[in-house]
Symmetry: C2
């Protein structure tokens, strides 16, 4: 699909992508998409009547400060909007010659201030990578009891904190809290010495479900708007002391970083693939057909203050996940839990079969026993102040590349 806008061959945002986000246009949040190197202001396009033929025109979803209303309109509106935007930016489109108008709606992507695109109601974090659960299990419970008995029967998850989800580029303050060292009789108050990332992806609910009415796995994808990259920052030393018996709390809720662009399921459609073989066979409510997951390449980079270029520390793929998004959503709602437009569900750390696929420092350095060497000569067991952590993601096939952009966060020293 060829646009009158110049799009580099390896751009994350070709005409086939049309992601949705929110950026700051003269101090106002405006809903936008990205094409090539440009942010396209959908708020202004809507105000000029470019969506007036769409079935959702009266709703004016692009005049909102967040995407929730657009999300709530469902798949049909999303497909229609994508098609309309693609038409507008095709080669020889009527708007291609209107320099004055294009100046009003196009902004350099590189300089745009992106905002959190969604008012996130509830955030759930799954634990759906068999390799991650196994690695953690071996470290903490030994090889024999690595996977908990329930793990192969249901997609384990817990509720996360929605308020502290931040958009890529937001700095992270190193948290302090209670830490109990094995050689001490009592916990101490300290900044965390085990600040970690978790390589995850998240999906957003488009149309929700009512309380008491579970989403069936065969309809689950109809409820999903699109996906983002997620860094579920973790303080391992705080986690270790606090997490029994109710799960992680403060060790995870100080910040979760997401990438600013939501990539729709329509853009990801060409990259659908089979998931891992599931044995034992899932219960009926968890059964899915066809190719229920996506081939999405994931990369994690670190950049210390002394480094000029980010350094790759992990490569993984969304397709490694044992439980797919339809199974996650069907499970989440099976007891009747309702979901709302803009709720976010994350995958859990996405590790893979090889050592290089490990999605956390905990696994990459095997609890700090095998530090990572950086190009600046330093070593890392966990992160130092001044480190920037960058997650990238993209799909690639038959010359088509659909990218996710990036999720990055710089670690600042403890402010207390």
């Amino acid at each position: 699909m060829k646009s009158f806008l110049k799009i580099e061959k390896h751009s994350d945002f070709p005409m086939e992508n049309i992601p949705f986000g929110v950026f700051l246009n003269q101090d106002e949040p405006h809903i936008c998409t990205a094409i090539g190197e440009f942010v396209v202001d959908l708020n202004i396009l809507e105000s000029f009547g470019y969506f007036k033929d769409c079935s959702f025109a009266d709703e004016k979803p692009f005049s909102e400060a967040v995407l929730n209303k657009f999300m709530s309109l469902g798949k049909e509106a999303r497909v229609e909007a994508r098609k309309k935007i693609q038409e507008l930016f095709l080669e020889n489109s009527p708007i291609s010659g209107g320099k004055g108008f294009l100046d009003k709606i196009l902004f350099p992507l590189e300089k745009a201030t992106m905002l959190l695109p969604v008012a996130i109601g509830d955030y759930t974090d799954f634990y759906s990578s068999r390799e991650h659960a196994t690695n953690v299990g071996i470290m903490f419970r030994g090889k024999e009891n690595a996977l908990m008995p329930n793990w192969l029967h249901l997609p384990v998850a817990y509720h996360g904190r929605a308020s502290s989800i931040v958009v890529s580029g937001t700095d992270l303050i190193r948290p302090s809290g209670q830490i109990k060292n094995d050689d001490k009789p009592a916990p101490e108050f300290s900044k965390t010495n085990q600040l970690d990332f978790e390589l995850e992806m998240g999906f957003f609910i488009g149309t929700g479900n009512e309380l008491g009415k579970p989403v069936k796995s065969e309809n689950a994808f109809e409820h999903i708007f699109g996906m983002v990259l997620v860094n579920d920052w973790s303080a391992r030393d705080i986690q270790k002391w606090e997490y029994v018996p109710l799960g992680p709390f403060l060790s995870k809720n100080f910040a979760t970083t997401i990438s600013p662009w939501i990539i729709t399921l329509e853009a990801l459609e060409p990259f659908k693939v089979e998931g891992p073989k599931q044995e034992p066979e899932p219960m009926d409510y968890l059964k899915t057909q066809g190719n229920p997951t996506y081939d999405i390449n994931l990369e994690v980079y670190i950049k210390s203050g002394k480094m000029s270029e980010p350094y790759l520390i992990s490569k993984s793929n969304f397709k490694y996940l044992y439980w797919n998004m339809a199974q996650q959503l069907a499970h989440h709602t099976i007891t009747g839990c309702n979901t709302r437009p803009g709720d976010m569900m994350a995958s859990g750390t996405i590790s893979g079969p090889e050592k290089e696929n490990r999605g956390s420092m905990l696994e990459l350095t095997w609890r700090g026993t095998e530090p990572i060497k950086l190009p600046d000569g330093s070593e890392r067991k966990f992160f130092n102040d001044g480190d920037e952590v960058i997650i990238k993601g993209y799909c690639e096939k038959d010359g088509l590349r659909i990218g996710f952009g990036e999720s990055k966060g710089l670690i600042l020293p403890d402010g207390q």
Copy 2:
């Protein structure tokens, strides 16, 4: 404080209470208070200019559909609003003779349809009753290891699901999910056979805190708007199978019922009391002075379809809790987690020193080994379909009674 409205001696809502809620006035949500047997429509009072002298007048907080905006205005606005409302309804107040006007703003409490009063951003559930944690610990791990090592050092908590918090009077559909019986090799899909209540109380954040800026325990009460009764419904059999290693998920997120009236900290002020002695001494960030908790009587009733009157099954008190609300909020934010107006934090099950103080069927029937006998001749280990569960709460001292009203829910059969 005497009103021109008739207030029964044992009313939950004397002039000293002035709770805040939202009710349905001709199909529109209106913010309101309760005095005696009346709902007072604050939306209409505001539109008639009765708050025009208040410092918050321009904000028009009572024209909203939920209390979040009013909550965000802080303690000063709340104190001012309470005072203004009390003045309006005093004996011989100018409005006392205006029958036509009073008909516009007063509605019989008994017939009012109350709504969820807050758009709840995040919901956190603590685990702050030593007696409850000990009871559960003994049942599941034996007397020696009843309390986990961290329990006396920090207020354990986990994130709950905000979307499924419902207002009193909302029916509950018996959930289904994965259940693994000890005598079976694999889990099965079934409706829950261990549907339970948890007697809790919750508090709402008024003014929040920014990401990275913890709330100090000495300022914590300034951030709290008020309190409600909470029933944290639980499916024990689903919980037992799913909860390792990340905590309860589906077994809790199918519904949480709250009472419709938020009782402000100002109304509760006369009932402040000392908390339990804390040993070991809490860390500095968890230290609180003075009387940091409240003497609030709590009662739980059950009413089966065959019973004409509710039957008391548990009596407890908020003051039994080991960790107080200031400690909970200081802990919640110590790693930098932000909070927002309308966030809800619940106490965890409030059990007490005596058997009759146990705040769940799990404890009352000691895992079903000591069933409760009901007046209709039947027995309960956990709840049956058709059972209604009612929580009541009130403070009483020197002739002053401040009540919470009630939180009730009727259990309907599994709909699947």
